[in-house]
């Protein structure tokens, strides 16, 4: 796996780096923790996904190599998989659209308000995720202002927002917005404003400057933000559960109910493993482009 990754070490000149045993000593406890409780569980998850049920005893499974668990699980739950990717995809696109102007403003125009605005972007995370999601029930209520407004324009297919896929997507967009804003800001902040000035001086229109200068230079942030929004949104089931109807279930809902309520561990594990595989593909595509040194 290491060979796949581009070599790193360009950072070495930034600060003097020592090679000594202390480095390994500092890494050992934390990395051991991650190895045991993050990496190894994927092995057990994979093994669990291949287990076979014990006849007559529900919730009991024996180690096996039942590969058919995968096609069985996918045949049954592919609509929820598809729905998760579509909802998360739309939410990510909306988040990019909403986040870009704010990130741009903080990076180039905020001046002495920059630090405060960044704090305000992170601040909502200090209020309970569940309660903030639940609050959208009030905001999007059937007799509420927003629903009435869109209904007056006859834009809603079901005459309501709550308990539809629109509410789920709205919730996802809202909840993961900071994950889009922060990487975008980090990338835009590195853009030299003189490049934009130069483009303006050369009589490029505002739109051309954006398309040919700002946007390409902010692409690392766009890619990072898209990943950091899309991935948690795909796996989320809180928004689907609190704001959607039973038809809006996402793959997270299925994994959770199969694992905890039905105790169908192999199916739930197989679904988790497929979800993780898809996400790993996305992450590695990103790493192939960006390298690992800027990941953390």
């Amino acid at each position: 796996m290491v060979a796949l990754l581009p070599s790193t070490g360009a950072k070495a000149q930034v600060s003097p780096q020592k090679r000594s045993r202390t480095g390994y000593f500092l890494l050992l406890p934390g990395m051991t923790w991650l190895a045991i409780f993050f990496a190894i569980p994927f092995v057990t998850l994979f093994l669990t996904s291949l287990q076979a049920p014990v006849a007559g005893e529900s919730g009991q499974y024996v180690p096996a190599f039942q590969v058919s668990n995968y096609p069985d699980a996918l045949m049954e739950y592919w609509p929820q998989f598809l729905k998760s990717f579509i909802y998360a995809g739309i939410a990510t696109a909306l988040a990019l659209l909403i986040a870009y102007p704010l990130a741009y403003f903080i990076a180039f125009k905020a001046g002495r308000w920059r630090a405060l605005m960044l704090v305000l972007v992170i601040a909502p995370s200090f209020a309970s995720f569940l309660l903030r999601t639940y609050a959208w029930k009030t905001i999007l209520a059937d007799e509420g202002f927003i629903t009435s407004f869109f209904n007056a324009l006859h834009l809603l297919p079901d005459d309501r927002i709550l308990n539809t896929s629109i509410a789920v997507i709205a919730g996802l967009t809202y909840n993961f917005l900071p994950f889009m804003i922060l990487p975008l800001y980090a990338a835009l902040e590195k853009v030299d404003p003189r490049l934009i000035e130069a483009s303006n001086d050369l009589y490029a229109s505002a739109f051309t400057t954006f398309r040919k200068v700002t946007w390409p230079l902010s692409l690392p942030g766009v890619v990072a933000g898209t990943l950091l929004t899309f991935i948690p949104a795909t796996g989320d089931y809180i928004n689907a559960e609190l704001l959607g109807s039973t038809q809006d279930r996402m793959i997270g809902n299925i994994i959770q109910t199969n694992f905890i309520e039905f105790r169908d561990y192999p199916t739930a594990s197989a679904l988790s493993f497929v979800l993780m595989a898809v996400i790993l593909v996305l992450v590695f595509t990103y790493i192939r482009r960006a390298g690992t040194e800027d990941l953390v």
Partner: protein
Amino acid sequence: MRWIRQRLLGVIAVLVLVYLFIPIAVVAVLSFNKPDGKYNISWNQFSIDAWTNLCGVPGVCGSFMVSIRIGVITTIVATILGTMIAFALVRYRFRGRSTTNLLIFLPMTTPEVVMGASLLALFLNLRFPLGETTIIIAHIMFTISFIVVTVKARLQGMDPRLEEAARDLYAGPRATFRYVTFPLVAPGIAGAALLGFSLSFDDFIISFFNAGTVVTFPIYIWGAAQRGIPVQVNALATMVFLAAMVIVLTTQVVSYRRRKALQLPPQALEAALPRS
């Protein structure tokens, strides 16, 4: 035209920030509500009952304290482990750097439902009893990465010449760390700890998978969402939010003042520091 465009951007930026706070305003406003049914969703009547009787509903304060306890233990352990890793990454060369980076990055991009499920698969296979211990293990696991990233950013932002200066003035490695490095990194570590606590305190998905019968504050809210969330929950969440805001804004003001106080002409700093 240009003037309008610049103002327009500012207006949009402020609107997006307002949008981020709308649900929090709803939570806070509804903490002063007296709901007319079991669901505290629409405004009915002003009341401060929830604020004067925060523990009035059984289970609310108990679960709140469970989350505080889990959060504190998680924060202490994860901050120590994460800070050590951050130092190693910035200050030392070692084999397996890419693997290390990857193992730190992946927990931040893995969906919580996958982490929760895989950890539960591990505990089930080991027949390890679920409870507060397993929640804390899980929380430490997923907060370490965020702490590494935060502390590492602070370490990298440090001027290496400050430490060189200390060494030039015959400070040993220990004294350099104690009097120069640590005080400079401390705000980063404190920020990381705050982030770690808020991640742990607010986590629902991973906790729910590995909780067994333990009820944390988010798990309480999840259960209550079906039968109606007590107003007290809104009051407690508003309190937590305000407390966090006070801490964050205070540190912002303090660091702003400090930077102002330290504003020497750059030449003075250049002259005082060794050439690198």
